[in-house]
């Protein structure tokens, strides 16, 4: 299988007033062409930074300090300014969290599409782009300003803009979290119909585990600026090997048994200032051993997936009852 | 003591310049700089020389003490009305923002009406009614600066009154004066201080403008604006008469503007980013 995107040990830091913040700390992820990958994690895990880093659309105070991102085997950091713009324009399609604020408030929808397509705003092709994303009454939508659209309609417009030039990679960052729950599924259905329709690869950055379980081929779990477990969605969801992935699944609403309660993960995600030299989850982990505090686990292939945990192998072979206990018994 | 405006060179410059101007204006005249009223103190229209450091006017009066007094008058006439404006604006603006309803509507309408007068013309007509002099200037400055200040206080009050802790204390039965004074006032104080600083620069422009036009301060009182006016008659023969007070006036307003910027960045950072 040929990989479309290879993220290799990428590290990104922000210069803030309170000093340096390391938002990405060696995250690694490979995505094959045509795949749909869900990238999950709490806020602060580095999801959004990773999404932006792929297109190098980071704010000026952010800096890549290590690692690389290869698209089609070419480093995105090697592009000149104009190559970078062409790459963003033709290969990438971004879909943002708040669709209304991602659209220029002073420009009618048809002009925003026309700019992307290099067409006149009267060109009938514009209407077909709006039809493709399931909008009804496209003439009217085309003539509207963003604030005159509902959230769902606006997100469809944003998707139309994203796929207008037939990009090979779609990057959706929390595309449904600002929408009413009733239209979330419609938007997700639309998003996940695109790979089949256009052959695009789709990265869904979200904290909504259920939509990942439902729609994605593969899942990558992020913690402390790193991808700590990454494998087929089915495998990871049925038996998460990293204790954090395990805890995250249990903490998700809907994961609890009927009558059971949601298990919150005690503690807070780490705020990194420099490269972490231990397992970032160690302070919150119920499986923690001394090694975890001394040495950062390398990413290894265990049970068909990539995991960064000293005790992953042990967990892969442990009996289910032991996993539930999560006891700190073996060493 | 902490040094204010750390890392903000321009604000510090403003503070230093203002300190120098205030010293010149309030301490300067009591130094041995000559009798400002003495006619034929020196030769007429003499350029600056030892003995009369800023030259002499057409009556041979030494300009230096007159300019120093002008600095003081300018500062007094600019700040006193702004204090009155601030107090009025805080009371009216807080009540309008907090009570809403017809009172708010009335205040907004009146502010619109006052806004509709180009400021210098509003000053002119007030001076026409009240007669030239300090009273007319003070009334003009208050009426010109009040509407904007009320709007700022009202908008800030609205944004704070909607916060939870205000609602909570209202529910718990706090009286209106207590609510306004204890919960709202401390929170709008920053915005008021920033706006008042800018208003001082506006009122310096108004006072000096009216005085320059001859309908502001009347002799024997002289502000920097009226000194420029007096000097402009002899502009070609004795340019220092008009340009020296003009220079100090420009430095004063420049420093107040810089200080206002600095305060805004510190006390009211939200506004620095929003629409003004």
């Amino acid at each position: 299988m040929k990989s479309l995107l290879r993220i290799e040990k990428i590290a990104v830091e922000y210069a803030t007033e309170g000093g340096r913040l390391r938002a990405l700390d060696g995250a690694t992820l490979t995505v094959a062409a045509g795949e749909t990958v869900g990238i999950v994690g709490e806020s602060g895990s580095g999801k959004s930074t990773l999404a932006l880093t792929i297109g190098r659309v980071l704010p000026a105070y952010a800096r890549r300090v290590a690692g690389d991102i290869l698209f089609d085997e070419q480093s995105v950091f090697a592009h000149s300014d104009s190559e970078l713009r062409a790459f963003r324009r033709d290969e990438l399609g971004f879909i943002f969290q708040n669709p209304v604020s991602a659209l220029d408030p002073t420009m009618r929808v048809k002009y925003q599409l026309a700019h992307i397509l290099d067409l006149k705003s009267s060109d009938p092709a514009i209407m077909s782009h709006l039809e493709r994303v399931g909008l009804k009454d496209v003439e009217r939508v085309a003539n509207r300003f963003p604030h005159e659209l509902s959230g769902g309609m606006a997100q469809r417009v944003v998707i139309a803009l994203a796929i207008a030039r037939g990009p090979r990679l779609l990057i959706a960052d929390e595309p449904t979290s600002s929408l009413d729950s009733t239209i979330r599924d419609q938007i997700l259905e639309l998003l996940f119909s695109l790979p089949a329709q256009t052959g695009a690869t789709l990265l869904l950055f979200t904290h909504d585990l259920r939509s990942v379980a439902k729609y994605c081929d593969r899942v990558a779990v992020m913690y402390g600026g790193d991808v700590i477990e990454n494998g087929l969605a089915e495998a990871v969801f049925s038996r998460p090997l990293h204790p954090y992935a395990d805890a995250l699944l249990k903490a998700a609403p809907g994961a609890e048994a009927i009558g059971g309660k949601i298990e919150a993960i005690p503690g807070r995600p780490p705020i990194l200032r420099e490269r972490s030299e231990r397992c970032p989850f160690a302070p919150r982990c119920t499986w923690v051993v001394d090694l975890c505090r001394k040495q950062r686990p390398a990413s290894e292939i265990i049970a068909g997936r990539l995991v960064s945990c000293h005790r992953a192998e042990e967990r892969a072979t442990a009996a289910p009852a032991q996993l539930v206990k999560g006891a700190n018994n073996a060493s | 003591m902490r040094i204010p405006f750390q890392g903000d060179f321009l604000s510090r410059l403003a503070v230093v310049l203002l300190a120098i101007l205030l010293l010149l204006g309030f301490v300067g005249p009591s130094l041995p700089v000559g009798d400002p009223a003495a006619i034929a103190f020196g030769p007429r229209l003499s350029p600056p020389a030892p003995g009369w450091l800023m030259g002499t006017d057409n009556l041979g009066r030494t300009m230096l003490p007159r300019v120093l007094q002008g600095i003081r008058i300018t500062f007094v006439l600019a700040t006193a009305p702004v204090l009155i404006t601030s107090v009025l604006a805080v009371v009216i603006g807080m009540l309008a923002g907090y009570l809403g309803g017809w009172f708010d509507e009335l205040v907004a309408r009146l502010a619109d009406v006052l806004f509709a007068f180009p400021s210098l013309l509003l000053g002119l007509i007030l001076v026409a009614i009240m007669g030239p002099g300090v009273r007319g200037i003070t009334a003009a400055i208050i009426l010109i600066t009040l509407p904007l200040m009320v709007r700022v206080v009202r908008a800030t009050t609205l944004s704070i009154a909607s916060r939870d802790y205000v609602a909570a204390s209202r529910v718990s039965g706090a009286s209106l004066p207590r609510l306004l004074l204890v919960h709202l006032l401390p929170n709008i104080a920053g915005a008021v201080v920033v706006q008042a600083t800018f208003t001082i620069s506006v009122s310096m422009l108004i006072e000096s403008g009216l005085s320059f036009l001859g309908i502001g301060v009347q002799p024997p009182v002289a502000s920097l604006g009226s000194l420029v006016q007096n000097g402009s008659v002899y502009l070609v023969q004795a340019p220092w008469l008009a340009l020296a007070p003009g220079f100090f006036l420009a430095v004063a307003i420049f420093s107040v503007n810089l200080l206002g910027d600095g305060l805004r960045d510190r006390l009211d950072p939200l506004e620095a980013h929003g629409l003004k």
């Binding site: 297109g55 659309v57 000026a60 104009s82 713009r85 062409a86 790459f87 963003r88 324009r89 971004f94 943002f96 604020s101 991602a102 659209l103 220029d104 408030p105 002073t106 420009m107 700019h115 992307i116 300003f145 604030h147 944003v158 | 321009l10 309408r109 009146l110 619109d112 009406v113 509709a116 007068f117 180009p118 210098l120 013309l121 509003l122 007509i125 026409a128 009614i129 620069s201 403008g209 320059f212 036009l213 309908i215 604006g225 420029v228 402009s232 502009l235 340009l243 003009g246 006036l249 420009a250 307003i253 420049f254 420093s255 503007n257 810089l258 620095a272 980013h273 929003g274 629409l275 003004k276």
Partner: protein
């Protein structure tokens, strides 16, 4: 759909502007009545002949209650009858010249002087726009650099800190002493001799424009910075738009909104400031005329002058509101602050 809404919005703003002007007229009317002395003496001057006083009493119904007087006065004003200016040579000729009360209708005096003031205001506003807005855009786009930030802050504080009469006085001095091609005074109407006219008008226009230039630069810079922080700008970057395209398509239009508001504020400043520039550079305009009227205690002219200026100012603000609504369609729904 949205045109209908725009129309409704325009009607609303117009109604609001008229209401404001009504308030202005009441204030001006009351103000004149507050001046000590009988209305006839205030309006016509102490030396006016009895016949003229009688005519005035009759015309405005000065024996009627005040509200009725106000209505009469307002209707006359709306009909273009702003009253009569004091006889210009009142002191020397005395009562005789004032026998003919129709000799100097204020509206005619205004009309004669308006072109100079309008030309001055347009030149000053044009300069302020052409210099201030590009400066503000540059400052906003390069705001990452500390040097640019400090420089633009210092320049705007300076530009808004030099009173126009100080700057004007400096110009008068420099250009009277040295022959630099521009004249101090020597105004002729534009239609008579454009070159001489421009030579005389450039200095007053620059004098007037400095405040506006600083104001525009500052407002534009803040507006550009605010827009640059918006998510749709990042979205445009992510779509591969070039910095030039982003500035042209998104930044300018969105940053224009506060700048339009400030243009209206600046117009009000120009209306008042024109008086100072006209006085300094001997431009026979509207502002100078009203100023002279104040010195002469010619309250009929002052009253009419203030009203006309307020109408012009409110009109400009109304245009700004409409421009707003066209630039930013959200305005219509949100209403103006």
């Amino acid at each position: 759909m949205s045109y209908l809404r725009l129309f409704r919005f325009a009607i609303e703003r117009l109604a609001s502007a008229l209401l404001t002007l009504l308030g202005v007229s009441i204030l001006v009317f009351t103000a004149i009545h507050l001046i000590p002395g009988s209305y006839e003496a205030v309006m016509l001057g102490p030396q006016a002949p009895e016949a003229a006083r009688e005519r005035l009493r009759e015309k405005y119904g000065l024996d009627d209650p005040l509200p009725q007087q106000y209505m009469r006065w307002l209707l006359a004003f709306l009909g273009g009858d702003m009253g009569i200016a004091l006889c210009r040579s009142q002191q020397s000729i005395g009562q005789q010249a004032c026998e003919n009360a129709d000799q100097a209708p204020i509206i005619a005096e205004f009309a004669r002087r308006a072109p100079a003031t309008i030309q001055l205001a347009f030149m000053a506003a044009g300069m302020a726009n052409l210099v201030g807005i590009p400066l503000g855009i540059l400052a906003g786009l390069s705001a990452g650099s500390r040097g640019v930030r400090g420089t633009s802050r210092a320049i705007s504080a300076l530009g808004m800190g030099i009173p126009s009469f100080v700057l004007g006085t400096l110009f008068v001095y420099v250009f009277s002493v040295h022959d630099l091609g521009l004249t101090v005074g020597g105004y002729v109407p534009l239609s008579e001799d454009p070159e001489t006219n421009l030579r005389a008008m450039v200095l007053p226009a620059i004098t007037l424009s400095v405040f506006g230039t600083a104001l525009f630069a500052r407002t534009t810079r803040d507006a550009v910075l605010t827009v640059l922080a918006e998510p749709y700008i990042m979205a445009a970057v992510a779509r591969g738009e070039s910095p030039g395209q982003i500035v042209r398509r998104h930044v300018l239009r969105n940053a224009a909104i506060p700048v339009v508001t400030v243009s209206a504020v600046n117009m009000g400043y120009l209306l008042g400031g024109a008086a100072i520039a006209e006085l300094l550079f001997s431009v026979p305009g509207f502002g100078w005329y009203v100023l002279a009227a104040i010195h002469k205690r010619d309250y009929a002219v002052v009253q009419a002058g203030v009203l006309v200026a307020a109408v012009a100012f409110v009109g400009v603000n109304l245009l700004a509101d409409l421009a707003y609504a066209i630039i930013d369609p959200r305005t219509i729904r949100r209403g103006l602050g």
